[in-house]
């Protein structure tokens, strides 16, 4: 079935060159050059090989900073791999975060037009989809108001409506199921299920293990950029939970050894990927 793949990744690797980051300045670069500091490097993803056949739905799970989002960014064509190859056949649509307000000063409608242009949709297509996007976002009169007057939930609704307007061949989802109020969550979940059913291939990143076992027919566990296990969702989820428990136990033991109350460490888990936000 090698000819019928939707996604084929071979020995995929993404290296971050930490010499350049959001804080790099000419001043520090010259200093580093003069002082001959070696450029720090970091593999966010390495030796990732997998093939997604048409109709399959792959869940990518793993702890924060495992490279899950990076993998989606590569599949979406946002990032180019540093080594290995990836082939993605078909139209890709990615929901890699829903905060995508395109422009704060534009109205909801104008943002839909702008968003469509960013996604590379034809003008006729956007015009055709406009009514259904407006209906799905369900923002009432706010659709004509500037985006800056929107609440977070309203932005998420609009972002979701724009991003899911087109039925893609290949759908990439990154933790998109936890936004909005309960009502919208139910609606968006239904839409995602519809898309997942219609799409020829789905790759999703989530921390929701129920979703993995319920809607995916394959799963992949990533840790520190490496594939730990790939296979049936139930097995992979089981291994992930075991390893998580182990890691937590190790942390607690370490904390106890240092005389810190483990309850302090078990604070609320931050969502998303905090690595680059630092």
């Amino acid at each position: 079935m090698t000819s019928n793949y939707a996604i084929k990744a071979a020995e995929l690797g993404v290296r971050y060159d930490l010499r350049f980051n959001r804080k790099t300045t000419v001043r520090t670069s010259v200093a580093n050059f003069v002082l001959r500091r070696p450029p720090p490097r970091f593999w966010a993803l390495r030796n990732v090989t997998f093939e997604l056949t048409h109709g399959e739905s792959l869940a990518v799970i793993g702890p924060n900073g495992a490279g899950k989002s990076t993998l989606l960014q590569v599949l979406a064509g946002i990032m180019r791999p540093s080594e290995g190859t990836v082939d993605v056949r078909g139209n890709v649509s990615g929901l890699l975060g829903l905060g995508v307000g395109f422009d704060n000063d534009l109205s909801g409608i104008e943002n839909i037009l702008l968003g469509g242009a960013f996604l590379g949709l034809e003008d006729a297509t956007v015009q055709e989809l406009l009514p259904s996007i407006i209906a799905f976002a369900d923002l009432g009169e706010f659709i004509d108001a500037p985006l800056k007057t929107y609440s977070q939930g309203m932005r998420a609704r609009l972002g979701f409506a724009i991003a899911t307007a087109v039925d893609p061949d290949i759908l990439l989802l990154d933790e998109v199921l936890a936004t909005g109020d309960a009502n919208f969550r139910a609606k968006s979940k239904a839409r995602v299920i519809e898309l997942v059913t219609a799409a020829k291939g789905v790759v999703l990143v989530t921390h929701d293990m129920e979703w993995v076992t319920e809607y995916c027919n394959r799963a992949m566990l990533l840790e520190k950029g490496r594939v730990i296990l790939e296979g049936a969702p139930a097995d992979v989820v089981k291994l992930h939970l075991e390893r998580q428990a182990e890691a937590a136990a190790a942390r607690n033991a370490e904390a106890l050894a240092k005389g810190i109350d483990p309850a302090v460490l078990a604070g609320p888990r931050g969502g998303g990927d905090g690595r680059r936000r630092r």
Binding site: V14, M79, R80, P81, V92
Partner: protein, 302 residues
Amino acid sequence: MLPFRAMSSGDAAVTIRQTPGSPSPLTLLRQGVTDILSRRRLIRYLVQADMKKRGTDTVLGNLWWILDPLLQLIVYVVFITIIARRPAPDYPLFIFAAIVPWKWFSAVITDATTSVVGAERLIRQIAFPKLVLPVSVTTAGVVGFLWGLIPLAGLMLLHFDRISPMLVWFPVIAVVQFAFTLAMAILISAANVFFRDLGNALGHVLRLWWFLSPGLYSLDNLRNVPYVQNHPIVADLFGINPFAILFEAYRAVIYGVPDGPQPSAHPPDLYALGALLLASVLLLGVCITFFKRVEPEFAKVL
């Protein structure tokens, strides 16, 4: 329940093939040009959004495009008249022919610096040709420049004896400036992703550039300075500056020569202008190639 219809988004299977390493410079250049041409609608929306944000679709929002050059004009006229004591006749028009185009360039370069960095959230979430960002900023600058032409036209009416048919050359000169500005905007917008302090340095570079360009003076003025008379190479070096060519060209068609019967406007130095256009187009190619070369790194760095 769900208002969506199933919609086939393109029948032909699109294949994204991502491999490490960069394609050849020529491929990059071709991709870059295709990026810009195929996303004209996105560029138009971005320009409209920009205009809306600044209120540049209203006269009041454009007050700065009109007031800023006028305020600069007053400062320079007062100072130069005091220092030089014998500035060129109709000196306000003499320098305004340079102030307005310079405002265009400096405003675009300043905006271009943050154009890519400012879109970091989008860049991390959507795959789109990032070239549209500096291109739309440069295009929006044209609109601002057009507003800046209002005070220029007003000043020309005050010196209507200098108005001549040579003004037909004005758009030609502006096109050359646009090509050069676009190249610089593309270069700066990409470079600022990797070096975040570029904006600070740029302010100083722009100021220095302005004073080294024959805006407040002409190259002829410069040649009459005793030191330059002994060292003509200095005037030649000043003349290589793209804005020396542009300012002299603008001044030739708007102002003419200081003395003698008016109107004295004459065609610009077409050889210099043609050479600058050629150089700008080549530079534009180089800058687009450079931009495409580093574009894949944006998502990582931002």
